[in-house]
Amino acid sequence: MNAPGTMARRDFLSVVAFAGSGLVLGVHVPTRRRDGAPDAPGAEFAPNAFVRVATDGTVTVVIGYSEMGQGILTALPMLVAEELEVDPATIRFEQGPAADEYKNPLFGLQATGGSSTVRGMWEPMRRAGAAAREMLLAAAAARWSVPRSDLVAANGTVTHGSSGRRASYGSLTQAASKQTVPTDVALKPASAWKVLGRRMKRLDSLPKVTGRAQFGLDVRVPGMLVAVVARCPVFGGRATHFEATAARAVPGVRHVVESPSGVAVVADGYWAALKGREALSVTWDEGATAAQSSDAIRARWVQLAQQPGITARHEGQGADALAAAARRLDAVYEAPYLAHATMEPMNCTARVTAGAVEVWAPTQFQGVNKQLAAQIAGVPESAVQIHTTLLGGGFGRRAEQDFLVEAVSISKAVGAPVKVVYSREDDIQHDFYRPAVYNVLAAGLDAAGNPVAWTHRSVSSSILARFFPQMFHDGKDENAYEGAADIPYAIPNIHVDWIRDEPGVPVGFWRSVGSSHTAWVKESFLDEIAAASHTDPLELRRRLLGASHSPSAPRLLGALNAAAERAGWGTAPPAGRARGLAVHESFGSFVAEVAEVSLGGDGTPVVHRVVCAVDCGQIVNPLTIEAQMQSAIVYGLSAALHGAITIDKGRVVQTNFNDYAPLRMAEMPRVEVFIVPSTEGPGGVGEPGTPPIAPAVCNALFALTGKRVRRLPIRPEDLQG
């Protein structure tokens, strides 16, 4: 056999190498999609790749990104509706293909991640709506021979002010199609907005409460088989031999074939494929890391952290200032690997035929999917169609390509459409994990207790080096220390450095990426300084942000004050409870959270209430922002209270939701979200709520117990005397 498990990576790297050129495209509205229906007389009006108006007036917005819960199927239609002057609740949406028109201008790729969709499409979607509106107005002006300036567009209708003549958008589509597409339409000022900022209910609820919504796992293609893959339990290992007689004897099993990541059992359905895999016997070459454990990785990192790393930030005297300080604090903070555990396990469906590939995938990365599928199947990219299904959660996991590589390869091998399905165990044990991080911190305080020096060294693996090697320069990966290197507090001497180590555990983007751990470390250690100097944690932050030169400081301060005030900071919490706070910037948004905690009878932490203040600039939909803050808090709290992926004998120990436990209903705190009004450009919303929750809870536990949590997840024994 060749080397399963290596092909996916090799192909991916070469694909990304040509996929990632061109970082920022100017804001422009692409012309209509290439595979759109041809214009017929009297047909719908499709002025650009994003908007279509049918002859009955129905407006369809084409979405080139992935809906994974964050609400873009509602937000993008709202952006169009604002300028097109239609009721957003009447808009239909349609998932667009993988095509250049849908590259996100923020990073020049068709992908959904980095809390980027509204930020990137904020202007293009409004321009698309405005261009359509102007063409409809021009069509009416020509029809009635009146000046454009005498016409008003509202609620899907053009009205002539003095005569009261009216024309519905639907009646104007044909004439509008003949107008020139305007290139520079002025967008409405915020004061004229009627849709943006409105509490609007989601447009995708009905299919999701009736079971009709189509996720990746729900895809059915005629003649489709289901594949379950036996993958080497040790990362980087490979199959050297397999014995499939018993597997083939399972009723319903059709094929047992090599796949890039192991051995695929292909059957009529999932259950037969799963039983076939159980009956399969594979001999693995487990490779170099077969004896590895989390403890051994940690032991190596303790050693590595004694040497300097690559400098991520240096201010003033850096670490040299520690020696001159009146007092010194030292601490080690440790964060574990984490799985994404999206509710819908990984899956992908592919149909490879002679000369063409069709893929149905719950994916966050359409652009690269297309190139990779073409490469594996040996067809030109133009012969690849990518259908983005709904995603049962993404959180960064579905930016990866493993499921697509398997589906396309296996379909090609067996000559039939194939849906690859990961069991929950596969999903948890073959993830690209949030990196584990070992952090060594020190602070120097002057005689009055003010911090005068701050050093932070971390050891972890690089996401960028694997995922975007063309962006990995000089050994630097900002994802590793974002949120740490840019610590916003006014401390005159700062040194932040990073040591890269690759123990072979694959790491990837996990909701809020670097900030998922750096916020916890930064905000916890700052709390240590507050305690050591007998300063109120809120007061210390106010002082250090007030004196800061960071451009982010005013907005961080605004969010912090809003959360503190609404949480009743400074007033006595209910008996038996204590409060903690944290504030952090990520993805262009500023979030402060105050957690109120107690200890349960068995000594486990109970989080009762979280007050969250978010400044995410100008907003589209408050209902979505509140939902995303709740969601991000639950995601971070699941990890802080329960989440750890550990390695033993080179393999992941955890298997399913019994030992990798998400937060459940009974543990849900009351979450109160306050949106700080802002006139700044929009910030991200999907991720920024996650970083502050772990430190807010740990700081509250310190206030309650006097015990500082310096390793995650929070262990009851770490809270005892």
Partner: protein, 159 residues
């Protein structure tokens, strides 16, 4: 492989499947009813919740052989067009995010309300704790259950 007769959403359906095939996969693959979801296969997450003779069960844990001769109700059978009070409350409270867990959440909530028309927060905790939502919609789920019960907002926990 043996053939079983199931009553799903009031219709009798004959399926041929290995006796140990979980009801979940019979619904999804043999009958093409994909509203019932696969989340863990181990009885831990509730994504696969259906009603068996009116009681909420994990369909990933029920072999098809055991489901024969019982009444199975799935999300598709709850109402034709999303008009069941629980579904309406879900839309009103804007509960769903990715939506993947919501068929199971709705089936658990419908079973709870059928047995307890005005559940307390503690009742909701107990009845819904088997349903994981990785999008963290718990607060709105709770509000929606109270709404479906017709209870005043004052009686509700959380926002």
């Amino acid at each position: 492989m043996p053939t079983y007769t199931l009553t799903v959403n009031g219709r009798r359906r004959a399926v041929t499947a290995a006796a140990d095939t979980p009801l979940l996969w019979v619904l999804r693959e043999s009958l093409g009813m994909t509203g019932t979801k696969f989340g863990c296969g181990g009885g831990f997450c509730g994504a696969c919740m259906v009603h068996l003779d009116g009681a909420a069960v994990h369909s990933c844990q029920v072999p098809v052989a055991d489901a024969a001769h019982h009444r199975v109700t799935t999300i598709e059978g709850l109402s034709e067009a999303g008009t069941h009070p629980v579904q309406r409350a879900w839309i009103e409270e804007d509960v769903v995010q990715c939506g993947y867990c919501q068929s199971g959440q709705i089936m658990s909530a419908a079973a709870l309300l059928a047995g307890k028309p005005h559940p307390s927060d503690a009742d909701i905790d107990a009845a819904m704790n088997g349903n994981i939502c990785r999008c963290g919609t718990y607060q709105r789920l709770r509000a929606a259950i109270h709404r479906a019960a017709g209870d005043a907002p004052a009686a509700r926990g959380g926002q």
